[in-house]
Amino acid sequence: MTLSGTDSGGLAPHVSERFAMRHRNAGYKLGRNTSHRRALLRNLVTSILLEDRVVTTVTKAKAARPHVEKLITLGKRGDVHARRQALAYLLTDDAVKRLFETVAPRYGDRQGGYLRIVRTGFQKGDGAEKAFIELLGAEKLLDEKRSKRAEARQKRREEMEKAMAEQTPAEGESEK
């Protein structure tokens, strides 16, 4: 199994297609050279496995999807060799651990299609279409994560308002 940049990776080609040329199988180049693209995708895939959801452009999401799917397949195999293969692609040990212990077991009876790409809008600046890519079955975790983040934000805001309220009268006195 290869996880290189532009390979579109048909897994088991149909017999009649076995010797077909790879016309129209170019994949995504993302305007980068091979090493840059490979690094970008490894980063993106690692993040997806660690965070369950990543906001990116539609094209990058589509480019990353097959790589994540192949890694989840490795995760389902679960043996030492599969683990080493995943380790060779992912950037952190934590991501490999999460893949094998948390992510892959979710998809026991599912044969691919582990990810969802949802278009969300357009980027300011270059107008690129944005999307998030998320692992199926992570919705609950993501909702919890979001509510926790909202709570933290609320707390921080209250503290800031308090600090500002304390500061303003003091500044008023110093001006006098």
Partner: protein
């Protein structure tokens, strides 16, 4: 140097441009907040898509 032989009339210009009209964006209605939204995309107003998925709650 080659040069235009005749004046280019307004009629000629507007006839050329007769087919240049922009078409309206196909919009669908958000089933949650009934705002017009782009199809197959998260609603920008309420952050809903396919029933669930409250993504960004932009209004606090």
């Amino acid at each position: 140097m080659p040069n235009p032989k005749r004046r280019h009339s307004k009629a000629r210009t507007s006839k050329r441009r007769a087919h240049d009209a922009l078409s309206a964006t196909g919009l669908s209605e958000c089933p949650n907040c009934h705002e017009r939204k782009l199809p197959h995309r998260v609603c920008a107003k309420c952050g809903h898509y396919k029933g669930r998925e409250v993504l960004e709650t932009k209004e606090a």
